[in-house]
């Protein structure tokens, strides 16, 4: 979903000291949600909430390995706030929206046949 104002989303994500600490830890290397929770007196769901904010802002990505889901800094990092990167990201979000709509349409056509 393209953010209407990605710069504000990024700033909001960075405005929390716990989230900044999470980013600092990930700057040293990938970590699981459990490893990220260790330094804080916080539950795993609590850390997960912060991770969701960071993912939405394009600052963190999470791996898809079935055994564990390591968190990693999105190499875009703060260059995301550059206007042209925002444009390219928004361009792709739109394209993927249209791709999904096309695949749905195709599936409906095939069901009818």
């Amino acid at each position: 979903m393209p953010a209407p104002d990605a710069l504000s989303t990024t700033f909001a994500a960075l405005a929390d000291p716990t989230r900044r600490a999470i980013l600092a830890r990930l700057a040293q290397g990938d970590a699981t949600v459990g490893e990220l929770a260790k330094p804080f007196a916080m539950s795993l769901p609590g850390v997960s909430k912060h991770l969701k904010v960071l993912q939405h802002a394009g600052l963190v990505v999470q791996g898809r390995d079935a055994q564990w889901r390591p968190c990693r800094l999105d190499p875009t990092g703060l260059s995301e706030v550059s206007s042209w990167v925002e444009q390219y990201r928004a361009l792709w979000e739109g394209r993927l929206d249209r791709m999904e709509a096309y695949l749905r349409e195709l599936e409906q056509q095939e069901t009818r046949e």
């Binding site: 710069l7 960075l14 900044r20 600490a21 999470i22 980013l23 600092a24 830890r25 700057a27 040293q28 260790k38 330094p39 394009g58 990505v61 898809r64 999105d74 190499p75 875009t76 990092g77 703060l78 260059s79 995301e80 706030v81 550059s82 206007s83 042209w84 990167v85 444009q87 390219y88 990201r89 792709w92 979000e93 739109g94 394209r95 993927l96 249209r98 791709m99 999904e100 709509a101 096309y102 695949l103 195709l106 599936e107």
Partner: protein, 159 residues
């Protein structure tokens, strides 16, 4: 003559798509399918051709006020693993000026919901021609300062 500059960036777009990898791959590989989603929804593209094989070329061009003028897109496919991975390099021009050159990697992985797609683009952006000049230099300085504040030593959170 524009001021000369280069900016480098990488960005990632990830999404879970509720269709199998083969269907998503086909949407990239087949020109009739790709035309349905890749181009400008405003319909300003005038052409899009695709030779989907390693070493094959892709070309698209069009124009609109939103695009900022007349653009061209030219890509060369570098690596294709069916239903898994597509790597291509591409360059863009706007109004005849070269504005960027990039490497794009699309990775498809099967997941319960369908396909996890990850697009990673690494590019060089030339001569500031691709900016809409809405961002102030001061904003970038502030971001640099925030980035510096994220150095691990500053927080002591890592043990």
């Amino acid at each position: 003559m524009p001021d000369r500059s280069t900016q480098f960036a990488t960005f990632i777009v990830e999404r879970d798509i509720s269709f199998p990898p083969a269907a998503v791959f086909r949407a990239f590989a087949d020109i009739e399918a790709k035309r349905r989603w890749f181009g400008d929804p405003g319909g300003s593209d005038t052409e899009h051709t695709l030779d989907f094989r390693v070493g094959g070329l892709e070309h698209s061009s069009g124009g609109s006020p939103q695009a900022g003028g007349w653009y061209t897109y030219d890509a060369t496919y570098q690596d294709i693993l069916p239903d898994e991975r597509i790597v291509y390099t591409y360059a863009m021009t706007i109004d005849g000026n070269r504005i960027s050159a990039s490497v794009a990697t699309i990775e498809l992985a099967p997941v319960d919901a369908g396909t996890h797609l990850r697009l990673t683009e690494q590019g060089v952006f030339l001569d500031g021609l691709d900016t809409n000049e809405a961002r102030e230099h001061g904003t970038n300085e502030l971001i640099d300062a925030l980035a510096a504040s994220l150095e691990p030593a500053a927080t002591g959170a890592a043990r």
